[in-house]
Amino acid sequence: MADVALTPPAVRRSGLSKNLRAMLREPKVLVGGGFILLLLLVAIFAPWLAPKDPLEQDLMLGNLPPAGYPGTEPGYWLGTDDLGRDVLSRVIYGTRIALTVAFVAAGLAALFGTVLGLIAGFYGGWADKVISRLVDIWMAFPPVLLSILLVAVLGSGIHSVIAAIVIIDWTRFCRVVRAETQAQAKMDYVVAARTIGFPRLHILIREILPNVAPVLIALVSLEMGIAVIVEAILSFVGLSVSSDTPTWGGMIAQGRQIIYQGWWVLVAPLVVLFATVLAFNQLGDGLRRALDPVMRR
C-alpha cells in the first residue's frame, strides 16, 4: 500500500483518454453500453426497421400469436394485439419514447441537481441549509404517487412525464454531488488553487466539477434506467403520451387487459423494458468502476 500514497494524482491532461481506455476495458460498460447503442439505432431507424405500420389496425388479424405458434400469419414475427396491430413494430417504435424520456429527463435532472448540489456543497452556509431542507421535504413524498400527481397536474404528454421525473429525481443528484463537493473542497488541490488566488467560481467549475464528474456520470446512467421505468408506469396508468403513440408501458397495460387472449402483447415490451433497465444499470455500475481511480487500482 505504501506506493499508493506516493503516486502523484492523475494529471488531467491525459485524463480523458485514460478514462476512455479504462471504460472500454470494463465488460459491463461494453455490454450495457452496446445494448443502449443498439436501442438508439433502433429508435433512429424505426421507420426502416419496423416491418409494419405500428398504428395500422386490421381486425381480421387480431390476436395473432408470435411466429412458431399455430395460427400465425407470415410477417407478424411477434404476433398482433387485439386490434390487429403488429407487436414487433410497436415495440420498435416504443424505443423512441423510452429513450427520449431516458436521455432528456435524466440529463435535466442531473443538470438541476448538480448545480444545486455544487452550490450547497461548495458555498455552505444558508444556501446549504435551504437546499438540504428542500431535499428533505422532497423525500417525504412517495415517488410513484408524486409522479402520478404531477402528471395529473401538468396534463398528460411526454413533456409532463419528463418534467415530473426531473422534479422528483433532481434530489438524487443534489445529495450525491453535495457530499462529493464537500469532500473535494477539503482536498489539497483546492486549497492550492485558493492560495494561487483563483476566483471561487473558477475553482468550482474548473477544479471541483471535473473530479465530481465520474460519480455523476454513473448516476446519470442509473437515472436513465429509472426514467424508463417511470415512463412505462405512467403509460401503464394511462397518464403518459396519447394512446396512439406506441409505448412499452401502454402495450403492457393493453397486454395485461387481454392477458388470456394474447399474453405475447405483454411479454414483448416487458422483456425489452427489463433488458433496457438492466443495460442502464450495468453501464452505470461499469462506469463507476472504470472512472473511480480508487476502484481501478
Partner: protein, 335 residues
Amino acid sequence: MIAVSILKRLLMAAITLFGVAVIVFVLLRVVPGDPIAMMISPGASPESIAALRAQYGLDASLPVQFLVWLKAVVVGDFGTSISLRRNVLELLAERLPATLELAIVALLVAVVLGGAVAVLGTLLRRTPGEPVVDTVNGLCLAVPDFVWALALVLVLGVAFPVFPLSGRINPGVQVDFATPFYLIESLVTLRFKVFADVAAHMVMPVLALGLPLAAIITRVLKEALLEAMVQDYILLARLKGMSSLRLVLQEALRNAIGPTIALTGVQFTFLIGGTVIVERIFAYPGIGNMAIDAVINRDLPLIQGLVLVFGALFIVINLLVDMLVVAFNPRLRHG
C-alpha cells in the same frame, strides 16, 4: 433525554406533514380541468353547476378554501369524495387496512427471505456457491417491483395459473367481515378456507413488493456479516468450537443487524410507494389503487386525504425505525 428527542422528532414530523398538505393543496388547485365538469350531465344549467361548486366549497378563494379544509381535517372530517360521492375518511378506513396487510406481509417476507439468503451467502463464502448467490441477488436488485409484478402475472397467473390474478378475495366466498383486516380476522376467527383464499390473492403482489427489498437486505446484511466474521470475538468463538451456523446467527448477526434495520426502514417507505402501481396491476382494493383512480378523476378531496395518509405513514415508519436503531445499538441508547 430520549423523551425530549422524540418530542422534537414529532414536532418536525408535524411540520413536514403540514408542508406536504400545503404543497398538495396548492398543486391541486392549479390543476387545469374542473372536477365539477366531470360530475355534471351535459345539459346542466349554470345555476346547478354553481350550486354544486358551492356544495364542495370550490367557490371560495384559495386561502379560505385551505383554512376551511384544514379546520375540518383537524377534527377528522376529510370531506366527500367527488367521484365516489362518499365520505373520504370512510373510504380510507375501508381501503387502508388492505394496503397495510399487503405491505406488512411483504416486509416480513422480505426480511425472512433476505436474511436467510444473507446468512446462506455468509456460510458459503469462498465456495463456488457464493458467486451464485451474488449473481442471483444482483439480478433481483436490478428488477423493479413493476417488472416483478408483471413477470409474476405471466408465470404464476397465466403460464401456470396457481394464484388468482386480481382482487383481494374470491367473490364466490360469501363471508361477512367484522373488520377490514381480512387476513388477520380470518386467521383469528379460525376460518382457514377464507384465510387461504385471502392469502392466495396476496401471494403475487407480496412477492412483487417483497423480492426487491429482500435483495437489498441480502446485499447489506451479507456485507455486514462478512465484516463481523473477521472480528476477534468471532475467532475466539470459533476456537471454542462453535459451529459456523451458530457463529453467524448468535454472534455475528447481533452486531451486523444495525445498519440493516436502518436501511430496511427507508426501503419500507419505498415499498409502500410501490403499492400504488402493484395494487393497480393486481386490481387489489387498497389505497394505492384508489389513489390512481382519484388522480385520473381529479377527485380533489380524496387525493388530499390519500396524500396525507401516505405522508403520515412515511413519517411514522421513519420514527419507528429511528427508535428501533437506538434500541438495537447500546452505544446510542446511553448517549
